[in-house]
Structures are given as structure tokens and as C-alpha cells.
């Protein structure tokens, strides 16, 4: 179990870094997919079975594929221009480290040390999550459906090619 965690953590981090650092956006997208799958694995380790599946179906199966399609659509027309702004990268990395350093006590020590997967009762099975979604969170759930619908319409309206415009 521990080994699996370290393996997944390694994949998560390295693919995350790859997303940021790879030159080609397509490679970034593939790295992101790998990252998401690894996170899904972590979810499964945390007994969040439904969430792991949702992660694969929604994130890996839909969002990243959407990104890929957008890349394929646009890739032939994108020209890369090289304008380096290294100071930004340095600032970002410094800030990021600072962030981690600042939060480290919170992440590591301040919270009670509970072993993260010792509670079997709360396995996030489809049935359990479904029960919660349709009782306590039913209003939010409906709202989320509405949000998706709105986003769908918005996306269609935005991306629709209008006459008089190339695409």
C-alpha cells in the first residue's frame, strides 16, 4: 500500500511538472491525463471509489479530451513565438516555495495525525455518494446540473463560427 502511494505520488508530481515544463501543449495534455489518472488512483486508495471513477470519466475522459481536440483544431495554425520572461518563472517558483514553507506546519503538523484510510465505514461507494447527493445536497446537485447546461449553451454560443469571421 505504501509503495503504491509513493509510486502514485511520484507519477502525480512528475507528470505535474511535465504539464508545466513540456514545450508542446499536446505533450502537456498527455501528461495531465496521466496526472489525473494517478490522482484517481490516489482517490481509490482513499476509498473514494465513486470519485475515482468520476475523475476518470469526467476529467480524463471529457475535459482533457476536449483540450486535446481544441489543440488538434488549433495546432496547425498556432505559431510559437519565443519571448522569454525568466524573471516570472523565478518569481513564481520562489513564491511557490514560500507558500509551501508557510503552509508546511499546517499540512504536516497542525492537523491531528489521522491515518487517512483507517475508516472503512466511510468508503465513498457509488451508493453512499449517491445517497448524499440526493438527500443533503440535492439542491446543489440540481444547481450543478443547471450550471452544466448553462456552460454547454455558453460554450456553443461562444465557439459558434459567425458569418464574416474565419475559423
Amino acid at each position: 500500500m505504501t509503495a503504491l502511494f509513493w509510486l502514485l505520488a511520484f507519477i502525480v508530481l512528475s507528470s505535474g511538472v511535465a504539464v508545466v515544463s513540456l514545450r508542446s501543449p499536446l505533450n502537456s495534455a498527455l501528461a495531465l491525463a496521466l496526472n489525473l489518472l494517478a490522482v484517481a488512483g490516489l482517490f481509490a486508495m482513499l476509498q473514494a471509489h465513486f470519485l475515482a471513477l468520476a475523475q476518470v470519466i469526467v476529467y480524463a475522459g471529457a475535459i482533457v479530451v476536449l483540450v486535446l481536440i481544441a489543440l488538434l483544431l488549433l495546432s496547425s495554425k498556432i505559431e510559437q513565438h519565443k519571448r522569454r520572461e525568466d524573471y516570472l518563472a523565478v518569481a513564481a517558483i520562489v513564491l511557490g516555495s514560500l507558500f509551501l514553507v508557510v503552509l508546511f506546519p499546517l499540512l504536516q503538523g497542525a492537523l491531528p495525525q489521522i491515518s487517512a484510510n483507517n475508516v472503512q465505514v466511510t468508503a465513498g461507494t457509488v451508493a453512499e455518494i449517491g445517497r448524499l447527493l440526493f438527500t443533503d445536497y440535492v439542491f446543489l446537485f440540481q444547481l450543478a446540473g443547471l450550471l452544466i447546461l448553462t456552460a454547454l449553451c455558453g460554450a456553443v454560443m461562444l465557439a459558434r463560427s459567425r458569418p464574416g469571421q474565419g475559423g
Binding site: L88, A92, F99, V102, L103
Partner: protein, 628 residues
């Protein structure tokens, strides 16, 4: 006293829904919008009728919809109450409203904005139904304002004509003046009793009869509000101008429903007025004067709708007269009969205009009797009813008014009441005179000009004829001792005016003399002896001019109020607004502009920089919370 059920919301909800659908559907299907609106209004009518049948005598249904205002101690819930008075009023509003909707389908056929029109009509109906089913003053005030808003929208319906838009503005502004006083009255009541619920107010007021002076002031304030809505002196000027609206609107708003809101309010608060003789006196004087003056103005108007408008004002005076005499139910009675015959008059006038090439000047009509017999007959019947001819509806209610003045007012005010009665009789005579004049100018006599007229479509005629039948028979049946006066009895405490209509023959030959006389004189004058009128005009040029010029009230207002206000506004605009306020605002803007020039350097247009800023802020915040 009242039973709580959740059955009242559809009363208001039907027309509201109708308004929504009529507007949406009306965007595409003009004709359908009318039918939807009529259906919604009819549904409301049936619902109200059902409720009325269910309502036990002397009880009320009540429904608390939701908490509307809760400020400090003021708890104004949106509560509806449906009692006998509400039932009668809603029936009239919804009934006449439905007929007018039906009529309007024919009248508005071909108008490009018919959907909007019907939406407004339904909205108006909803507001009026809310007004009459309100359980407390704030809710009544919502309906009150809603009615004003809808009348504004409808008067200005053809807003492309500047004149019409001006009329709409006038109606709205004049109503606001009244509403200010109305609100003042409400505030006074709340200040002293801490509640605005009608039944609670009734209990409290009847427990404290010693606060008569307060009631007087409250009553006067409320009456000024009512005089705005119900077009009494001094706020009646908007009503004649409001004839810019399409004729069905005139019928609905300015004859049958909206203008009765003031009277309704007074009847609703009868317990207050009963303890405020001062207010009653004011009401009586204003009402009698209004009735008489409006009737005389109507005598000299050429525009068919203006005649009817002034007639409405005059008849509203009768209603207030009855209320001021303490015979509140008679006021309601006159509201009902007046709604029928005045709506009928308006609608037949509308038919004349609609089918006669949109001519409104009566002098250019004439001889239409042959071309549109049904319309002429309806107009004649309703006109006779208005004139107070027995045994038509108008006779009964008007006769009841006279009797109420005689019996109620004499005890209180003596000679003054005598004068009032005299003026009232005179008014009744003039009423008959001007309606006879209108009828003879329009339908009888030689044809002036070349009007091509024909009978309107069945939708219009159906509504007109129904109203004509109602304005014939409704009076007799409502006047029966066990009808209206028994039904409304539980609403009023104190001495009650009992009305015995008596026999028909007696009514015809003894009591309806002012109407009979007026009609006879009018017909003979205008048909047989027009020269006599000219002579009279020559003899009394000043009076004739005064009548024709509507006593120059508009001009006086313009001189006394509007002009000075305008000058003050211009001054304020020049010096305060442009100089002081704009100067401050622009100076502030310039300051910000100068500062922004410096700060805007940060705004590089690069999302990445912004992200960096955001994240730095996040790190700072995190550090802050971790440290402290």
C-alpha cells in the same frame, strides 16, 4: 371572523400568469394573446364566483402568502382577505374586466402591440384584484400603486404620440400627489395603532372613539389619496386626459374599476370615517361640488370620450356622497351599477369610434342609429340608466344615494345637507341633460360629415349587449332588501341605512323625475330647438366659456404650481446640479483619473502578471494566518 385557507392566491395569480403568457405569446401571435388574457380574466372571474359561493355569511377567507416587510415592529405580511365587500368588488372587477377583455380582442385587432396591451390589461386586473382582496393597508397600497402603474402604461400605450405620453405622465404624477397624502394617512395610523391590518384596526378604532380628531386628519389624508385615484376635486384633472388610452382601457380603468379604488378604500375603512365627522364633512362637500362641476363641464364637451370621462367624475361624486352620508353599502351599490352602465357607454362609444373611422368629435357624427342599431340601443339603455330612469339599474343606486343623503346627512349637518341634496338633484338633472345631448348628437339628428359606420364584430357587440342587459336589470335585483344591503351588513357597525326600493310604477313616476326631466329637455332641445341653445350661450357667454374651458382648472394649476416649480427646477438644475454636484463629481473623477494614471502601470495586460499578484496575495494571507 376569518378562516385561514390557502385558496386565495389564484385570484391574483390567474391574471398575473395571464399577463406573462399574453406578453410572451403576443410577441408572435397577436390574436391568441387576447384570448389568453380573456381566458385568464375569465378564470379569475369563475374562481372568484366559486369563492363567493363558498363564503359563509359574515365571514372571511384569509391567506397569508409570505412576510413582505419586516422593519422593526412593522410586520407587513402579504395577506389576502376575502370578505363580502371583497367578494362584491372582485366580482365586479373580474366580471366587467372579462367582458372588456373580450371586447378588446375585437377592438385591438390589427394593433401591432396587442400582446403588450393585453399583458397590461391583465396586469391591471391583477393589481385591482390585489387591491380589493388586501387584508392590510400596505398590501392595499401595492394594489393601489400597481393600478396607478398599469393605468400609466395603458394611457401611454400609444406612446409614440407625445400628447398621449404626456397624458400618461399627468395621470401618474397627479396620482403621486394623492399617494403622498395617502401614505401620510397610513403613517399616522401606524404611528398611533402599531398595526395596519384592517380587522385589527377596526377593533382598535372602535375601542377608542375618543380619538376623533386623529381620525379626522387620517380620514382627510386618505381621502386626498382617494381623490387622486377617484378623480375628485382638486386632483380630477388627469382623468379626462387619460382618455388618450384605447377605449377598452378607458372603460376598464376609468369607468369600472380603478377609479372606484378610492371609494372602496373609504368603504373599507368605514369604521374610521364613522368616527370622523370632520372628514365626512370634507368628503361630502368635495363630492357634491365635484359631481356638480363635472356634470356641467360634461355638458359642454364635444369629444365623446371626454363627456363620458367627466360623467365618470361626476358619478364618483355620487358614490362619495353616499359614503359621506354614512350609507357605505349604497356607495358600493352605485359602484356596481355605474361599472355596468359606464362600461357599456364607453364600449358602445368605442364601437362608434372603431367602426366610424376613429372619429371622436360628436359634432361630426349623427344619424348613426340606422347604421349601428345594436350599439345605439345599448348606448341608449346605458344612458338612461346613467340618467337615473326607473326601473333601470342607475335609478336604484342613485335614488338610494338621495335617500341616504336625506336620512343620514340631515341629522348631522342640517341646512348644509339640504343644499347638498339640492345640488345632487340638480346634478342628476344635468347628467340626464348631457347624456341626452350626447345621444342625440351621435345617433339621432342629421348625419354630419360622411362617416361610414357599420356594426362591430360579435366579440365587441357581445360584451356591449351583456353590459347593457346588466345595466338594465342589475339594479332591481341588487336593490332588493335581502340582496346587497343584507349581504354587506356584517361589515358595518353603527346605524345602518336601510333602503326600500318600492314599487316600479312609483319609481317611474315619482322618484325618477330629475332624469326624466333632463332626458326630455335634452332631447327636445338638441333635436328640435338647437337655436335655443345658441341663444342661451349668447345670453350667458361667461358661463358657456367656463363650462367649455373646464373651469380652466388646468390653466390655474399651470399658473400656480407648474410654472413656479419649473422655474425652481431650472434654477436648481443650473446652479445646484451643474455647478455644485457636477463640479464635485467631475473633480473627484479627475482626481481618480490622475491617480489611476500612476496605478495603471501595474495593469500590464498580462494575465500571468495578474496571476502572480493574486498568488503573492494568497501567500501573504496564508503567512498572516499562520503567524497570527
Amino acid at each position: 371572523m376569518s378562516v385561514s385557507y390557502s385558496i386565495l392566491w389564484p385570484v391574483v395569480f390567474f391574471p398575473l400568469l395571464g399577463a406573462l403568457f399574453a406578453y410572451l405569446v403576443g410577441l408572435k401571435h397577436k390574436q391568441l394573446a387576447g384570448w389568453i388574457a380573456t381566458g385568464a380574466s375569465g378564470a379569475a372571474l369563475f374562481y372568484v364566483a366559486g369563492l363567493t359561493l363558498l363564503l359563509p355569511h359574515g365571514r372571511a377567507f384569509e391567506q397569508r402568502l409570505f412576510e413582505w416587510l419586516a422593519v422593526g415592529d412593522l410586520q407587513a405580511a402579504l395577506t389576502l382577505r376575502f370578505d363580502a365587500l371583497g367578494a362584491v368588488m372582485s366580482l365586479v372587477v373580474a366580471g366587467v374586466g372579462t367582458l372588456i377583455h373580450l371586447y378588446a380582442i375585437g377592438y385591438m385587432a390589427g394593433d401591432p402591440a396587442a400582446g403588450r396591451f393585453f399583458a397590461y390589461l391583465n396586469l391591471f386586473l391583477a393589481a385591482m384584484l390585489l387591491l380589493v382582496s388586501a387584508a392590510n393597508l400596505p398590501v392595499l397600497f401595492i394594489g393601489w400603486e400597481g393600478v396607478a402603474l398599469c393605468s400609466y402604461l395603458l394611457i401611454g400605450f400609444w406612446f409614440k404620440k407625445e400628447e398621449f405620453a404626456g397624458a400618461a405622465n399627468k395621470a401618474f404624477i397627479v396620482n403621486r400627489i394623492g399617494d403622498a397624502c395617502f401614505l401620510l394617512g397610513i403613517f399616522l395610523l401606524y404611528l398611533n395603532f402599531g398595526t395596519l391590518d384592517f380587522s385589527e384596526l377596526r377593533l382598535l378604532i372602535e375601542r377608542h372613539p375618543e380619538l376623533s380628531a386623529l381620525y379626522g386628519w387620517v380620514g382627510i389624508c386618505l381621502f386626498i389619496g382617494a381623490s387622486g385615484k377617484s378623480a375628485q376635486i382638486p386632483l380630477f384633472v388627469w382623468l379626462p386626459d387619460a382618455m388618450a388610452a384605447p377605449t377598452p382601457v378607458s372603460a376598464l380603468i376609468h369607468a369600472a374599476t380603478m377609479v372606484t379604488a378610492g371609494v372602496y378604500m373609504m368603504v373599507r375603512l368605514n369604521y374610521l370615517y364613522a368616527l370622523a365627522p370632520l372628514a365626512m364633512l370634507v368628503v361630502l362637500v368635495v363630492a357634491v361640488l365635484t359631481a356638480f362641476l363635472a356634470a356641467t363641464i360634461a355638458l359642454a364637451q364635444d369629444d365623446i370620450k371626454k363627456v363620458l370621462a367627466y360623467s365618470t367624475i361626476s358619478q364618483l361624486g355620487f358614490m362619495f356622497m353616499a359614503a359621506a352620508a354614512g350609507a357605505y353599502w349604497v356607495a358600493v351599490f352605485h359602484i356596481i351599477t355605474h361599472a355596468f352602465f359606464k362600461a357599456c357607454l364607453f364600449l358602445s362609444a368605442g364601437s362608434v369610434m372603431h367602426c366610424g373611422g376613429h372619429e371622436q368629435n360628436m359634432r361630426k357624427m349623427g344619424g348613426l342609429w340606422r347604421k349601428m342599431p345594436l350599439t345605439a340601443m345599448s348606448f341608449a339603455v346605458a344612458g338612461l340608466s346613467l340618467a337615473g330612469m326607473a326601473p333601470l339599474a342607475g335609478y336604484y343606486s342613485k335614488h338610494a344615494c338621495f335617500l341616504a343623503l336625506q336620512s343620514g346627512a340631515f341629522e348631522t349637518w342640517g341646512r348644509l345637507a339640504e343644499l347638498a341634496l339640492l345640488l345632487a338633484w340638480l346634478t342628476a338633472f344635468v347628467t340626464a341633460l348631457y347624456i341626452a345631448r350626447a345621444f342625440s348628437l351621435i345617433f339621432l339628428g342629421p348625419a354630419q360629415g360622411n362617416l361610414t359606420a357599420h356594426e362591430p364584430p360579435w366579440k365587441m357587440n357581445g360584451a356591449v349587449l351583456t353590459l347593457a342587459v346588466l345595466s338594465v336589470f342589475s339594479g332591481y335585483f341588487l336593490a332588493l332588501p335581502h340582496a346587497l344591503q343584507h349581504y354587506l351588513r356584517p361589515l358595518f357597525s353603527g346605524p345602518y341605512f336601510n333602503f326600500d326600493p318600492g314599487g316600479v310604477l312609483e319609481a317611474l313616476f315619482v322618484h325618477s323625475w330629475p332624469g326624466l326631466l333632463g332626458v326630455l329637455v335634452g332631447l327636445s332641445l338638441y333635436l328640435k330647438a338647437p337655436w335655443l341653445i345658441e341663444r342661451i350661450k349668447e345670453r350667458f357667454p361667461f358661463t358657456a366659456r367656463l363650462f367649455r374651458g373646464k373651469y380652466y382648472v388646468d390653466e390655474i394649476y399651470a399658473l400656480l404650481i407648474v410654472r413656479p416649480l419649473e422655474r425652481l427646477s431650472v434654477g436648481l438644475w443650473r446652479f445646484v446640479d451643474q455647478g455644485l454636484i457636477d463640479g464635485t463629481v467631475n473633480g473627484g473623477a479627475r482626481l481618480v483619473d490622475a491617480l489611476a494614471l500612476v496605478v495603471s502601470r501595474v495593469q500590464s495586460g498580462q494575465v500571468r502578471h495578474y496571476a502572480l499578484f493574486v498568488f503573492s496575495a494568497a501567500v501573504l494571507l496564508a503567512a498572516f494566518y499562520m503567524v497570527f
